[in-house]
Symmetry: C2
Subunit: 328 residues, 2 copies
């Protein structure tokens, strides 16, 4: 019997992960007896035989982390974060949530171990490609230096270092996974610089127009929400011995250009869907995107059993299956 | 007119740096009007025309960093740290001093800027080769990934990330320099795993026996105290435009084997000095040292004007000149 805690459970990935864990009903061969869902506000759930503990709070507030660890969860997912744009706008908030929040959590686990010897949970940390900064090679290996060019990336890189040290010292059994850009992100268009990667597919699939602010030659690294959730589930099951001292790794993905995206859309929804994409260059977004990674060598993650989407077409198919009602 | 603050001013490097600044009397073309020396205990000084402000305290205590920044020093040296062995033994103390201490300092500067627009001091951070972890190539480039294998190395790597982000955001004008292993370290033998690198020279030069716990083929990266202090002085004068976004760099050094050390000793003090070295293998120390770096490609630091010792013999000569009374 095992108890899973998801911190950041109300977000897209957190909610999908909770659903995946309930559907799977076991992790690493142990049946899931309890699921604790934590976020700034209460996560929505469905009826289930699993004991649910739904909580809301601020991870950076004193005592919050301790309260979450009090019941000694066996598997802890830490997905909560202030996103890139907000961490850049609000320096103090980004450090408070993304750095202090992560550290409070690791510290609460370390102190819990002092009173409960042998307590050493699997700790899955959602890291980000933002730990990498320009100049970048066309294909980035797992041993590429972390030179983040944003406060968010800095906070994630520090989280990775803490995770590795707390794991080396035996306080947690940690794994940090750098998730690709999620595509197709469901829901409404947003203001993120990366928003168009999903928007140019999601909107035309719903019969709506979409803006493309960059050239079709732009290349980036993608995973479907389904694959990203699969990575999170699998991260709780990877053998710690295989991780050894290198606790942080980049997740597999599909390297695709915007042109590849458009061709996948054409195959699934025809020329009339493609015609809904309007190309209007935005130099500000082009400048941001130009510093982003294009592709990764993820042989380590692949050898550890993380399974990516088969192709960009498969990413579009997964969206159509999971969001049939939102597509036209 | 400029005001320099040295945090960690009572240590070997801090005291040497204070003396070097007083002797040089100017930094980056501005004459030094004031020198603030801070450490856990009061630093010793000599008579000088420069205004001295000698302080003692705990950098991790609330308000200490703010009080140090109150007078708006133009150049800040942050050399204070719990050393590797102690940070490994006392987890909480290591993080409190090496991580929180550094962060308090950067935060105090950021907040000072809010009330004194334009305040953006040069911040020289003493980092360490301990940011690098095995497996390591024979020659380590500046873009090698940081995978520290100690809590001390983790804390220094986090310091480097913070320094880069606070510099990118314009709060400080930071430079992090990874110092080589200091050799010949003056004073008494100590318990550090690296102690023998200095001991096998310093003790025989004083007519005393010394233990060598590793094979003579062991290779490592060295700088004399004189060169290390020279790096610190120069770090305050490097043009920020040349640093651009990469604020942390490995300092030049001399790559030498223990056999090279012994030959340098023979040339300077003869066979009788060499005969005082007793080889007694210590598997524990051999295991630690086997994971340490052997040599670095430091072309970036060299191009920025950091000047290393010319050879291992020059390192021994520098010691004999600076410590004539302690050598026989």
């Amino acid at each position: 019997m095992t108890h899973c805690l998801i911190i950041g459970a109300a977000g897209m990935l957190g909610a999908g992960l909770a659903e995946a864990l309930l559907a799977k009903s076991a992790i690493a061969g142990k049946s899931i007896a309890k699921l604790t869902l934590f976020d700034l506000f209460e996560a929505k759930t469905r009826d289930t035989a699993v004991a649910l503990d739904i909580r809301a709070g601020d991870l950076s507030a004193p005592g919050t982390a301790e309260a979450l660890i009090e019941s000694r969860p066996d598997v802890i997912y830490h997905l909560a974060a202030i996103v890139s744009g907000e961490a850049e706008r609000d320096f103090e908030k980004g450090y408070r949530i993304n750095l202090d929040g992560t550290r409070h959590l690791l510290e609460a686990i370390r102190r819990a171990q002092a009173s409960a010897p042998g307590y050493r949970p699997r700790f899955v940390f959602a890291s980000s490609l933002a730990v990498f900064g320009s100049p970048l090679p066309d294909i980035i290996a797992d041993d590429h230096i972390l030179t983040p060019r944003s406060s968010y990336g800095t906070q994630k890189a520090i989280g990775e270092l803490l995770l590795a040290d707390y794991s080396r010292r035996g306080f947690v059994d940690g794994i940090g996974i750098r998730l690709p850009t999620i595509c197709i992100r469901p829901g409404k268009p947003n203001a993120a610089a990366s928003g168009f990667f999903s928007g140019i597919l999601r909107e035309p699939l719903a019969g709506k127009p979409a803006l493309l602010p960059v050239a079709t030659s732009v290349r980036h690294w993608f995973a479907s929400p389904r694959s990203a959730i699969g990575y999170l589930v699998h991260a709780a099951e990877v053998d710690a011995a295989q991780l050894a001292e290198n606790r942080n790794l980049t997740m597999p993905g599909v390297s695709a250009t915007v042109a590849d995206e458009i061709e996948a859309l054409r195959k699934k929804a025809g020329d009339e869907a493609v015609a809904l994409i309007k190309h209007e260059a935005d130099p500000a977004i082009e400048a941001i995107i130009s510093t982003w990674p294009k592709a990764f060598d993820t042989k380590r993650a692949l050898s550890l059993g993380f399974v990516p989407d088969a192709s960009f077409e498969a990413i579009v198919e997964a969206y159509l299956e999971d969001h049939a009602s939102e597509a036209r």
